[in-house]
C-alpha cells in the first residue's frame, strides 16, 4: 500500500493525472455542447474529432493524414515550448501568436521576395520572433510594462505589419502569398525521404524531427545548464537573483528573446513546408499561438510533456475539420481546447487536494495501526 502512495505522490504522475482529467472533462463538456446543438449527430461528431485521420478507411490515406497532423504539430510544439519557457521564468508569453506571425512574415518574405534558401529563411524567422520577444522583454525589464499587455499590443501590430509586408509577394488574383514550389523551390525544407514514409506526403519534412530535438534541447537548457538555472532563479524571485549577482534585466530580455525565437522557428518550420499560404487579408492573429498556451499547460509545463500535449491538441483541432458541417462548426475543437486551458487553472488545486487526501488517508491508517497494536 505504501508503494501506491508514493506513486500518487510523485509530481510527474500527479501532473499526468491532472492533464488526463482536464482532457476528459473538456471532451465531456464538448460532447454536451454538441448534444445541445443537435442531439442526432453528437456521438458521431465527438468520435470524429477524437479519431481525426482514422476517419479514412485505407492505411495509406491514414498515414498521409497522420503526416499532415504532424506537419501542423511541429509549429504548435514550438509555440507551446515558447510559452512554457517564458512561464518557467515567471513571464506569461501571450505574445507567442505575434512572434509566430512575424516569423511567418520574415520566412516567407525571405523565401518569396529575396529568393533565399530554406535555412536562411528559417534563421530569419527565428531572428524576427526573437526581436519581437526581446521588445516585450526590454519593456518589462526597463519600463515595468506588464508583458501580457505589451505582448497583446505587439500581436496586433505585427499582424498588420506582416499583412502589409507579404502583400508585396502575394498572388495577383488572390489574397494568398505565392506558392513556394512555383517561385522558389529552394526555400522548401527538404524532406530527406521522410515524406515517402507517410504515403508520399510531400509536406512531411525534417522540420518535424527538428522540433522534437529542440524540445529536448530546451529541457536540457532549463534543467541541466547554468543559464537555465539562472533564468529559473530570476523567475522565482528576481530580487533574490539580483542579490546573488545575476543580471536579472538581461535574463528577462534573454528569456523573451528565446521564447520569441522558438515561436518564430515554429512559424518557419510550418510555412516553409509549403503546406499553407499566408492570407494577406487575415484580420485576426492565427490560433496557433493560443493553442500553444493550451499545449504548454496541458503538458504539465514540461518540454517532453509538451511533445505529447501538442500532438493531442493538434489531433483534435484537425479532427474538428471532419465533423458534419451541416450540423456543427469546426470551431468546436477550439471550444474544447479553450476549455482544457481553463481547466488547467485548477491543476494546482487538484494537486494540493490530492496530496491532502493522501495525507489524511495515511494518518487514518497510522491511527488504525496504532489502535490495532494497543489491542
Amino acid at each position: 500500500m505504501k508503494q501506491k502512495n508514493s506513486i500518487l505522490r510523485n509530481k510527474g504522475v500527479q501532473s499526468l493525472l491532472a492533464s488526463l482529467l482536464c482532457i476528459l472533462i473538456g471532451l465531456v463538456i464538448g460532447y454536451l455542447v454538441l448534444l445541445a446543438i443537435n442531439p442526432a449527430g453528437a456521438k458521431e461528431a465527438i468520435f470524429t474529432i477524437i479519431k481525426n485521420f482514422f476517419y479514412y478507411p485505407s492505411g495509406p490515406a491514414r498515414m498521409k493524414y497522420l503526416g499532415s497532423t504532424l506537419v501542423k504539430t511541429a509549429p504548435l510544439l514550438m509555440c507551446s515550448l515558447s510559452v512554457l519557457f517564458a512561464y518557467k521564468v515567471g513571464l506569461f508569453n501571450i505574445g507567442v501568436a505575434g512572434q509566430f506571425v512575424v516569423g511567418a512574415g520574415a520566412s516567407l518574405y525571405c523565401a518569396l521576395g529575396l529568393q533565399m534558401p530554406w535555412f536562411v529563411c528559417l534563421i530569419a524567422a527565428i531572428l524576427a520572433g526573437a526581436l519581437l520577444g526581446a521588445i516585450s522583454g526590454a519593456l518589462k525589464a526597463y519600463r515595468n510594462v506588464n508583458e501580457v499587455i505589451s505582448c497583446i499590443m505587439l500581436n496586433w501590430i505585427s499582424l498588420y505589419l506582416v499583412n502589409a509586408l507579404l502583400s508585396n509577394v502575394k498572388e495577383a488574383a488572390s489574397p494568398y502569398t505565392m506558392t513556394l514550389s512555383s517561385t522558389n523551390p529552394k526555400a522548401i525544407i527538404p524532406s530527406m525521404g521522410l515524406g515517402e514514409f507517410f504515403a508520399n506526403n510531400q509536406y512531411v519534412t525534417i522540420a518535424i524531427p527538428l522540433t522534437v530535438i529542440v524540445a529536448v534541447l530546451i529541457w536540457v537548457l532549463l534543467e541541466k545548464t547554468k543559464l537555465g538555472y539562472e533564468l529559473r532563479a530570476t523567475g522565482c524571485n528576481k530580487f533574490a537573483a539580483k542579490y546573488c549577482g545575476m543580471q536579472e534585466k538581461r535574463n528577462l530580455i534573454l528569456t523573451m528573446a528565446i521564447a520569441g525565437g522558438l515561436a518564430g522557428l515554429g512559424a518557419g518550420a510550418f510555412f516553409l513546408t509549403g503546406f499553407e499560404q499566408w492570407q494577406c487579408t487575415q484580420s485576426s492573429v492565427p490560433a496557433m499561438g493560443f493553442n500553444g498556451i493550451a499545449a504548454a499547460f496541458l503538458g504539465g509545463l514540461n518540454p517532453i510533456g509538451a511533445i505529447f500535449s501538442s500532438y493531442f491538441i493538434q489531433h483534435i483541432t484537425n479532427g474538428g475539420a471532419y465533423v458534419d458541417k451541416t450540423m456543427y462548426s469546426a470551431q468546436i475543437s477550439d471550444l474544447i481546447s479553450s476549455l482544457i486551458i481553463y481547466l488547467c487553472g485548477f491543476v494546482l488545486f487538484f494537486k494540493t487536494a490530492l496530496t491532502a487526501w493522501l495525507d489524511r488517508r495515511a494518518e487514518r491508517r497510522a491511527a488504525q495501526e496504532q489502535k490495532g497494536e494497543e489491542k
Binding site: 496586433w156 502589409a164 476549455l339 487553472g345
Partner: protein
C-alpha cells in the same frame, strides 16, 4: 469633423465602461485579463436580444432589454473567473486567457449553430441588427448621439462615487491593497472579490454590446472584439486605476481608434497617403508608447493577482 467626434465619443464610451470594469476587479485584488471574453459574451447577449426582441418594441424598451441581456451574460461569464480565482486559487492570467479564447469559440459555435438551424445554407457566424440598432441613436443635426455615451458617463460618475465615497468601495479597495488587514477588521475578502469581479462582468458585458453597435450594424463573432478588452486594460493602467484619469485616457485612445474609421474624410490625412494598416496599428502603438512612459511609477493595487489565503500571514 463631426464624424470624428462621434466615433471618438462612442469608442471612448466602450473603453471607459470596460476599463472601469477592470478597475473594480483589480481594486478588489483580481486581475481580469478575461475582459475581452466578457465583452464578447456581453456582445453576444445583446445581439441575440436585438435579433429576437419582438418587432414594434418602443426604443426605450429595446434599450433596456438589450442592456439587460448584455449585462446578465457578462456577469454570468465573469463568474468563471471568480470561482477559479477566488475559490480555487487558480493562476488569474491563465484563467483570463482561457476565458478570452473560450468566449470567442463558444460565441462562434453558438451563432453558427443558430444560423445553420435557421437556414441550412448559412454557415456564417454573423448577426445583423440594422433596424434594431436605431433604437440607441438620436440624430442631433448630423451628429448621431448614442444613448450608450450617456450610459458611460453615468457609469463613470457612479464608479467614482462608489469607489471613493461609499463604505463598500473603500472596503473593496482595502481588499486589493492588503487583504489580510481587511480581513482582520471583519471584511469578508472573498465576498468583496466576488463583488469586484461581478461588477467588472457587468461593465465589461455592457462595453461589449456598445462596441459591436458602434459604427457597424452586423457582427462576425469569429473576430471576438479584436483586442479591445486589452486596449481597455491599457487605458486602465494609463489611468492609474483612477476613474477620472481613466476617462481622459479613454478619450485619447478613442480618438486614435476613431481615426482609423474616418481618416479618409480629412484631406490632410488623406494626402499623406499612408496605407490603412498604419491607422489600424495606431491605437496599439500609441498604447505601447504610453505604457512605456507611465508604467514606471505604477499605482497598481498591491495585492492584485495574489490569491487570498486565509491561513497565510
Amino acid at each position: 469633423m463631426l464624424l470624428l467626434i462621434q466615433y471618438t465619443l462612442i469608442f471612448a464610451s466602450v473603453l471607459i465602461l470596460v476599463a472601469l470594469g477592470g478597475c473594480f476587479s483589480e481594486h478588489s485584488g483580481v486581475i481580469n485579463i478575461g475582459l475581452e471574453g466578457i465583452m464578447v459574451m456581453g456582445a453576444l447577449g445583446g445581439a441575440l436580444m436585438m435579433k429576437f426582441a419582438p418587432a414594434g418594441l418602443p426604443a426605450i424598451g429595446m434599450f433596456v432589454l438589450v442592456v439587460l441581456a448584455a449585462v446578465c451574460l457578462g456577469m454570468l461569464y465573469s463568474l468563471l473567473l471568480a470561482v477559479a480565482a477566488i475559490n480555487f486559487k487558480a493562476d488569474q492570467t491563465l484563467v483570463g486567457t482561457a476565458m478570452n479564447l473560450l468566449a470567442t469559440a463558444a460565441a462562434t459555435v453558438f451563432v453558427k449553430a443558430m444560423n445553420t438551424a435557421a437556414d441550412s445554407g448559412n454557415v456564417s457566424a454573423t448577426i445583423q441588427y440594422i433596424e434594431q440598432k436605431k433604437a440607441f441613436l438620436v440624430n442631433i443635426g448630423g451628429f448621431e448621439f448614442n444613448w450608450f455615451m450617456l450610459a458611460a458617463l453615468v457609469a463613470l460618475i457612479c464608479s467614482w462615487v462608489v469607489l471613493y465615497r461609499t463604505r463598500f468601495g473603500l472596503r473593496l479597495m482595502a481588499c486589493g491593497e492588503h487583504p489580510q488587514a481587511a480581513d482582520s477588521v471583519g471584511i469578508n475578502v472573498y465576498r468583496m472579490r466576488y463583488a469586484g469581479v461581478l461588477i467588472s462582468g457587468f461593465l465589461g458585458g455592457l462595453g461589449g454590446i456598445v462596441y459591436i453597435t458602434a459604427g457597424v450594424s452586423e457582427w462576425k463573432f469569429e473576430y471576438g472584439v479584436a483586442g479591445f478588452g486589452f486596449l481597455a486594460l491599457a487605458v486602465m493602467i494609463f489611468g492609474q486605476w483612477k476613474p477620472t484619469r481613466i476617462a481622459l485616457a479613454a478619450l485619447l485612445f478613442g480618438l486614435f481608434r476613431a481615426l482609423g474609421n474616418v481618416y479618409t474624410g480629412f484631406d490632410l490625412l488623406k494626402n499623406l497617403n499612408l496605407p490603412s494598416a498604419v491607422y489600424n496599428m495606431l491605437p496599439y502603438i500609441v498604447s505601447l508608447v504610453v505604457l512605456a512612459f507611465t508604467s514606471q511609477k505604477s499605482r497598481a493595487p498591491k495585492a492584485e493577482g495574489i490569491p487570498y489565503d486565509k491561513g497565510q500571514r
